[in-house]
Symmetry: C2
Subunit: 460 residues, 2 copies
């Protein structure tokens, strides 16, 4: 059989407009997983994907969970058995006033850097997951069949800590296990170099609620005598980092190793400039652990961040209130060697130990996933690296990932399966921020990249 890839790539080029329309239909569904008000939209997004996969010949179904449903589909025969993973849920859109358009009314925006698809989820992750589905469509159209045996798993809780994921994997391990997982939720290094992520940071999310007086008080009548929970909370959070940027929770760095010489060398070759990277967002100075390179701080060192804090009166003007409660959302990015449960427990103990009299603290967990490290010797890594290099005309890189895609760890732990992470988003995509976008080039060449990768995987 001659290689159908060139004809498939032509089909992808010719069908790009239709592919965009299909993506737009998915982007119009406001599937914000973290906010219960959008539960129905999450369900609708799952239904839409089931229909789409069925149309490609997959045996597709929506599978209930205690949270938002999973989409599972099976199709194709022969070749290696791959599991493709993506997520159909998106981040909240606030502050809405900073968007230039309705986040759920996608459009092509012409920009100096080329046309972009503008919408919440355009890049993270609806646009990316559709690159794979469209590659499958092109293979099916040209050859009448999928290139190999493919299982698809699409999640609806990735942006809210994936509470249902591990139980679902455990309950359906036999059905879902494949030779390797393909995950499209990552980006291009330096917005230019096609990249395969070979390590990912883990994530622990914690909500901290400090309670002081039984009601809001007048700061004149009670101030000086009554404990203010915002004082207690800022005291704790203000001590999260020392002056060298190191996290102060006892035991936080237990198990964390320095990177090996090979990684250090290959990362150095990427020519990363922390100043240039930060300059794009109005910053200039690395804020992580002193003495570590920029890429180490992003990819190989754990962090603690305050993602949200609120207490008292925050509206216009002033209110001399002594608040009864102070809340914060704090997250930790973890690296290989750290145990997420131990980190969470150490943080809680550390906070509790600092509570002054008259303050009580309670915690709400928002997920705890370990870091991942891949074995790049697996043949799929070779195939994907060659396919990406060919498509983009730039040598594809093995890079680290600062974000947390705990699914890679879960695939390893629950299914004993490696993950290959390749994606086409850019640092300019403003994921999780207002005016999120996905370059039309990323979408187009992303589809072509998967088509090529699937071809090479089929050939083995």
């Amino acid at each position: 059989m001659s290689d159908p890839t060139p004809a498939i790539l032509d089909r992808i080029d010719a069908g790009l407009g239709d592919a965009q329309e299909r993506l737009f239909a998915l982007l119009r569904i406001p599937s914000i997983s973290t906010d219960p008000a959008y539960a129905e939209a999450c369900d609708s997004a799952a239904d839409w994907l089931v229909a789409e996969l069925a149309g490609l010949g997959f045996d597709a179904s929506k599978r209930p969970t205690p949270g938002h449903p999973m989409v599972v589909a099976h199709g194709g025969e022969g070749g290696p058995h791959v599991l493709f993973y993506g997520h159909y849920d998106v981040q909240p859109v606030d502050p809405l006033e900073l968007w230039n358009r309705d986040p759920f009314d996608p459009a092509i925006d012409e920009t100096p850097a080329g046309p972009v698809i503008r919408a919440r989820g355009a890049s993270d992750d609806k646009g990316q997951l559709m690159t794979f589905l469209e590659a499958c469509r092109a293979w099916k159209s040209e050859t009448g069949a999928l290139p190999c045996r493919i299982t698809v798993l699409l999640e609806g809780e990735e942006e809210s800590g994936s509470p249902s994921l591990v139980p679902f994997l455990e309950a359906n391990a036999e059905e879902l296990r494949a030779e390797i997982a393909l995950i499209c939720d990552t980006g291009m290094f330096g917005d230019r170099v096609p990249s395969i992520v070979t390590s990912l940071r883990g994530l622990v999310g914690e909500e901290v609620v400090v309670q002081g007086p039984s009601r809001d008080l007048h700061s004149g009548l009670f101030g000086g005598l009554a404990m203010n929970p915002a004082r207690a909370l800022t005291k704790v959070l203000g001590a999260l980092h020392d002056d060298e940027g190191r996290v102060q929770v006892p035991g936080f760095y237990d198990g964390v190793a320095d990177i090996d010489a090979e990684r250090r060398d290959s990362w150095e070759q990427l020519g990363f400039s922390a100043e240039g990277f930060l300059g794009g967002v109005g910053l200039s100075t690395p804020a992580g652990e002193r003495g570590r390179t920029g890429l180490e701080q992003l990819w190989a060192r754990p962090t603690a961040e305050i993602n949200g804090i609120v207490s008292g009166y925050t509206g216009a003007g002033f209110k001399t209130v002594l608040p009864s409660e102070a809340r914060a959302k704090v997250s930790f990015r973890l690296v290989a060697g750290q145990d997420p449960v131990k980190v969470r427990d150490a943080f809680r103990d550390w906070v509790r130990a600092q509570m002054p009299p008259d303050c009580t603290v309670r915690f709400e967990g928002h997920g705890a996933g370990a870091a991942s490290a891949m074995d790049t010797g697996h043949p799929a890594f070779v195939a994907a690296r060659e396919a990406l290099t060919e498509e983009w005309g730039i040598e594809a890189a093995f890079i680290g990932g600062g974000g947390s895609i705990p699914i890679a760890g879960h695939f390893q732990d629950v299914l004993g399966m490696q993950s290959l992470l390749a994606g086409f988003s850019k640092e300019t995509d403003r994921i999780h921020s207002p005016n999120e976008k996905y370059d039309v080039e990323s979408f187009h060449k992303g589809i072509r990249s998967w088509a090529r990768t699937l071809g090479r995987l089929r050939e083995g």
Copy 2:
């Protein structure tokens, strides 16, 4: 002329229902001064008061300012010339869901401790200012005239730092100057002892805005390398107090003296229990400077409080955002000897000096008023103490005030005029909090107290 006071008190008793109806009309106007959305309501409240005062025979007018208007009225002849001050603006009502009724739909609630008037502003300060106006009404009705020469000044910006007050006093000093100011915006000691406040803490309000990256960032992509402004802000605010409860801003205590033996003795006689006071709001442990008595912490020591803080995502669930901005509202209660401008500048310098690279800070001032200390040898203090003792059947006390009524300082500084502060609110009034109330007893006996005080002042 025989003393008309007994007949006036009878009139007050007989007319209490009508007086409540008039207060309810004022309470229905949502005159929240700090929120621009309620500017028209503030204006309406001023109009209502002008009409009310005109009906009592005052020459009353609404006087424009750059903010909300002042109400000024002149009436009566002879006797000492007094200036009565109150404020018609109220605090915001959030969190609205904690109110048992619409905060601007006043009603009488029957409680185990007796009937109360429930509404935002019932106690602070609409109910209190109306005690004086109703006392004037009773005098006018019984004798055909006000008891002495009375100027009334009602402000609409007290809850938002009184930005227009000093310029207005300066521009109208001749018109407003009297022999003494009477201010009704304070409470009963221990909810039981009629009290005249002879010292007040000052107030400096500051909004601190820390800016980091130019937009919200993904904490996985940027976390570890990019500075988080919430980290910078909590680090500063977490260092506001040391472990002994002392404020750490350099020079903060400059000029602050220990209380003298006379005050120490008289305060000790009040039998104040910090534990009992705090127990009412679910607390138990004095949180101010170690080694100071409870009343010192409330009345004679300066404080720093976080009144509000907000950054990042604060809604339901979790968002792994690295926020671009962090804001806090911080206030300082000042005591005699502290210069509010110096405190403000010292705070700003101290915050600026702690900003890490990539964080900039800006400040917005929300008022700066000095503390006040009264000369209790003035004859009005004797008259009021006697009148209050007679009305309430309990020896009236000279007490300190933890709150800030900067007007007393401004009357001293701009008009060279002392202030006598007497009021009838209780610690249970929940001022600035949901379900604010004013006891019907406070309103009723408050009116009677002013009627008696005016009688004694007239007699000299």
